[in-house]
Symmetry: C2
Subunit: 315 residues, 2 copies
């Protein structure tokens, strides 16, 4: 491995001069700079980030926490983060927490160990270990009071869900609740709930049980009682649709189903899923930019993204 020391010998100047030349910091004669650059090229010099980090105690690595990368909503976000990061010379370390506070803690510690410059987290225990993190954190799609966050307008998303179901002729609606520990789910739930009440529509709520899987409470009897279903996300809607198909429930004739997220696959399920699109990629991008600005002491305001109804064949 070639170091600046090698270059300094090669050119016949001191390491500090090489360092300055390479970083264009401080004064270096054009002549020397040219030589240094040439030598660096010739010797195949690659700067050692580790050493730089140790010295400056600021690395170019950003920790990213998601519940589970296997849920296709997150890869989109991650791409958004990563593309923006790459462009600015940063890299990301990803941690899957599985909503497990222990894992979360472990990863946060790891991020500290690696002198990460910041953390972007789409999963955060309210009273989680992030509390005593000394590196900046941007919350993604999660709002916890007085922390920086980037999210979509989920309250509106929930309203859109309910409105559309009503518009498309549903008269008895089942509102399926998502995890109540995440603001993004709580908001969309409240949005839908408010709209349902406001319209004086008959509806019931399927609470998010301890099993953490609403499908566990779905059966043929329940399905037949409603003609409209509001799902907390597309993944659940897929399974509901599947259940209905297998039980001979006609969608959307007998039952209308609306999801949330607009995953890429929602076009391909049967029937294709009406849903709420949230701009995952852009959320990721914005989160990264916000983090970088925050680090520099800039605090932007607009960190709320609009959502949008995508009408397909399930309603």
């Amino acid at each position: 491995m070639t170091t600046i020391k090698d270059i300094s010998k090669h050119v016949g100047v001191s390491v500090s001069t090489v360092s300055r030349a390479l970083n264009s910091s401080g004064y270096v004669s054009p002549e020397v700079k040219r030589k240094v650059m040439a030598a660096a090229e010739e010797l195949g010099y690659i700067p050692n980030e580790t050493a730089r980090t140790l010295n400056t105690s600021i690395s170019k690595v950003i920790g990213v926490l998601v519940p589970d990368i296997t849920n296709p909503f997150f890869p989109k976000i991650i791409r958004g983060i990563e593309d923006a990061a790459l462009e600015k010379g940063y890299r990301i370390i990803i941690g899957n927490t599985d909503h497990d506070a222990e894992k979360e803690k472990k990863y946060v510690e790891m991020f500290h160990q690696n002198n990460c410059l910041g953390i972007i987290s789409a999963t955060w225990s309210i009273d989680g270990p992030g509390a005593n993190s000394r590196i900046p954190i941007v919350l993604l799609d999660r709002v916890v009071d007085d922390s920086i966050s980037v999210q979509a307008d989920h309250y509106k998303g929930g309203m859109l869900q309910a409105e559309h179901l009503i518009d498309s002729g549903a008269t008895k609606i089942l509102l399926i609740q998502g995890p109540d520990t995440y603001s993004s789910f709580v908001d969309r739930y409240n949005g839908a709930l408010g709209t349902l009440k406001h319209n004086n529509i008959e509806f019931s709520i399927l609470e998010y049980g301890p099993s953490a899987d609403p499908m566990g409470n779905i059966n043929d009897g329940i399905i037949r009682k409603y003609d409209g279903f509001i799902c907390p996300n597309d993944l659940l809607a897929y399974r509901l649709l599947n259940f209905m198909y297998e039980n001979g429930v006609e969608v959307p004739a007998e039952a209308r189903v609306i999801g949330y997220d607009d995953l890429e696959f929602s076009k391909y399920v049967y029937p294709s899923l009406t849903t709420i699109r949230q701009p995952a990629y852009e959320l990721g991008e914005k989160a990264l930019k916000t983090l970088l600005e925050y680090k520099d002491g800039i605090v932007t305001d607009k960190r709320n993204f609009d959502v949008q109804l995508i009408k397909r064949n399930s309603t």
Copy 2:
């Protein structure tokens, strides 16, 4: 941030003693060790990986390269890698290459800069920049001669595809080719091709064009000419199924479709997709283990995973 120096002051011993105590390397009296541990706990000591890495020039970070994390096949692999890595105290940096040799090169350089311990890559230009990487590389689902690799038995997978289509009554088959630069696609293609020929079945080949999107060559006329379709992966099968649905082609009555990968969503598309399952998660796990062993000079043999037919309603 508390360092071993702080601990050494606190306890009243030298930093080297603290270091030894913390790492259980070399002799330390039980008494002192206890004190050091207590102090570390009390002061909330977190070892600085950067410093350790600089010193030993071996980090606990592993670079992972995939074409695009947005393709749901890769998150599964990544989880496999990450879970195995976490367990052994390693972390991963992910890079999306989009099959772009430039990006690939950039990431490999990054991995070097960060003193990564190794690279696991599911995307590799044959004559790519990895050639002159001095850190160990394990190829995932890609075989390039005389490099370490972990993959599924795609030749068999291709055979299974063809066999099953024939068994299910197809008489005129369209074999859709995947990217010919990846061994995993080439193998499954050859497997299917061999079986088709061997069975004397009538078939055609839809070559992988420069557009890189076989759907571009699909139209109603072509669809009607065959009653069996072999897809290089599930994602393409989804789109094909969708096209057929929209054009009123009955599946599987008029056309049988088989995919490859068995993504989670293949159960939910319409009709549910018959496909070949490859153990993505296990591939990831194995890749990590192989890398770790390789680093230690151990070279294992069995790095070939079996694949399996998953019969659903599209055939």
